[in-house]
């Protein structure tokens, strides 16, 4: 990949907000007939979806059903081949996209310490000292203040993913997309990271779209879960239970059952 290509491609807008801002103006999402084809492969086949500002949406589905593709469209990493994607504020007014994405791999710069890595999330225009200071504030939100001067290579997998989360959140995006962010972590770390995600989402109030292959995780975290199958939404289930939720809750287990049935059954 050349720099010129990189230049040509989409550049996510950088929202500069004060580091003291306790919460975010969450972005709502409106998708109309979104299509994505790679050559002859129709990966997304007409997605209609409205995500109200501040909602926590989870997307589940079989491997290869188009979850990552959809997420990349939402954050502008790729262009849809049909349909429209619009961002709006809580009042339904259209706003400029302001989103961030966290991947399964943390994608930290190994040659920057943790605070500088988080500072990357603020974009080019911010002076280094300022970026570090705000980076350290964001690290506190993910309970990693004591690692500000550490090299990423010295951190555990869970800690690295928390740094990636802090980097995504430091600019206070209205939408946070998460593509199997906990997929590479061990079961216990995953549970504590789920608690952290739930807490950060409640504190900062952004809209969250989480792709996961773990139905339990989806039901535990999200307000609403959609099931994707061959590029279509085949199920849309609300999870009304209040937060904090407990693992092993019977009503959640019931929803989980419905979801699994949808994913595995309908063909």
């Amino acid at each position: 990949m050349t720099i010129a290509q990189v230049e040509r491609d989409h550049r996510a807008s950088i929202e500069t907000t004060s580091e003291t801002a306790p919460s975010v103006a969450p972005a709502g999402l409106r998708l109309r007939g979104v299509e994505k084809t790679f050559g002859k492969n129709r990966v997304l086949r007409g997605i209609d979806l409205f995500v109200p500002a501040g909602q926590f949406l989870a997307i589940v589905g079989k491997s290869g059903c188009g979850k990552s593709t959809l997420l990349r469209l939402l954050v502008g990493l790729d262009q849809q081949t049909g349909g429209t994607i619009a961002f709006e504020d809580g009042q339904g007014q259209e706003i400029a996209p302001n989103s961030r994405i966290v991947f399964q791999e943390p994608r930290l710069l190994p040659w920057f310490d943790v605070a500088d890595n988080v500072g990357v999330g603020l974009g080019d225009g911010v002076a280094r000292a300022d970026a570090r200071r705000r980076g350290e504030a964001a690290l506190a939100e993910v309970q990693l203040s004591d690692k500000a001067k550490e090299w990423p290579s010295r951190l555990s997998g869970g800690q690295r993913q928390r740094v990636a989360l802090a980097r995504a959140l430091v600019s206070r995006p209205g939408l946070l997309a998460l593509d199997e962010p906990l997929g590479a972590l061990d079961a216990l770390t995953r549970i504590s990271m789920q608690a952290l995600l739930a807490r950060v989402w409640q504190e900062l109030g952004f809209t969250a779209v989480l792709v996961t292959h773990d139905v339990t995780e989806a039901v535990h975290l999200a307000d609403r879960v959609i099931v994707l199958d061959e590029g279509r939404i085949i199920r849309d289930i609300a999870v009304p239970q209040p937060h904090p939720r407990h693992h092993g809750d019977a009503s959640l287990a019931k929803i989980e059952g419905q979801l699994l049935e949808a994913i595995l059954g309908e063909r």
Binding site: T2, V6, E7, A12, R100, L109, W111, G123, D124, W151
Partner: protein, 277 residues
């Protein structure tokens, strides 16, 4: 722990007892690499002293040492070292910069890579020392000839490794930079250059070896100052001690360059677990 301790640790004795004798604490592990060279020099000196090795063929280490004193005292040695060192650095600076820039540009730009890489790969296959006759015809035996050859020699290892370093930067990191709105310069400075740096250092250290090699050869063939000239001049007067002294100086300069490059590398790559202690 040192294997040179004559007695066990001092604290096993009562506090009122006299201190046990100990050799100064030396890290035996650090000395180990020097055992063989020191033994060889000792054998060499013994061979010379007892007349097994003729002075014509190989002067004794002590003779080399005295040649060193003589040359150093007259100021010739210092002058020649400075001249050779300056030539080496100039060649490295010119060839290294060209190789580095070409590597960066070709690593980043498909157009430039298509345009120049094949040509560079073709030129690279010619041993640069084979150009000596031509270079002498072009430049005579002046400084330009040596600068040209040294620069040409270091250019390719620096080019190749810089190019590969840039090409192999983690694409996920480049995409990350793009997501976070990094501009061209920022992407280069924060992602591409540091990502390519380990490979660039490999090229640099390889280039240092070629730099000395080229300089030795070209100074021996065509020069009126420098270490290579000193050795070649001494050959005409059968002064084997000075010839060997020149070899020793080359070895020391080569080692010095490598030590500096390694230190620079350890400092610049301190983020890399491979360089952390």
């Amino acid at each position: 722990m040192s294997i040179l301790d004559i007695q066990g640790p001092a604290r096993t004795f009562g506090a009122d007892k006299p201190k046990t004798f100990r050799l100064p604490k030396v890290d035996a592990d650090r000395l180990l690499p020097f055992v063989v060279p020191v033994a060889l020099v000792g054998l060499w000196q013994a061979g010379s002293s007892f007349g097994f090795i003729s002075d014509r063929i190989m002067p004794s280490p002590l003779a080399v040492l005295s040649a060193f004193w003589q040359e150093a005292a007259s100021g010739d040695l210092g002058h020649n070292i400075l001249v050779s060192g300056a030539r080496a650095l100039a060649g490295l600076a010119v060839g290294g910069s060209i190789g580095f820039l070409l590597g960066i540009v070709n690593g980043l730009s498909r157009l430039s890579e298509r345009l120049t890489d094949t040509t560079l790969q073709m030129v690279r296959t010619i041993p640069h020392l084979a150009l000596i006759p031509l270079v002498i015809l072009w430049f005579g035996i002046g400084e330009e000839a040596k600068l040209f050859l040294t620069a040409l020699g270091v250019l390719f290892p620096v080019y190749l490794n810089t190019y590969h370093g840039v090409r192999n930067v983690d694409r996920d990191l480049i995409e990350m930079g793009r997501i976070y709105g990094m501009g061209r310069w920022s992407l280069f400075r924060k992602v591409i250059f540091p990502g390519a740096l380990p490979s660039i250092f490999v090229g640099l250290r390889y280039a240092l070896g070629i730099m000395w090699l080229t300089l030795i050869v070209s100074e021996t063939i065509a020069a009126s100052s420098g270490i290579g000239y000193m050795a070649n001049n001494a050959r005409e007067f059968m002064m084997t001690d000075i010839v060997v002294l020149a070899l020793v100086i080359y070895a020391l300069l080569g080692k010095l360059a490598d030590v500096v490059a390694r230190a620079l590398e350890r400092w610049a790559l301190s983020w890399n677990p491979a360089y952390q202690r």
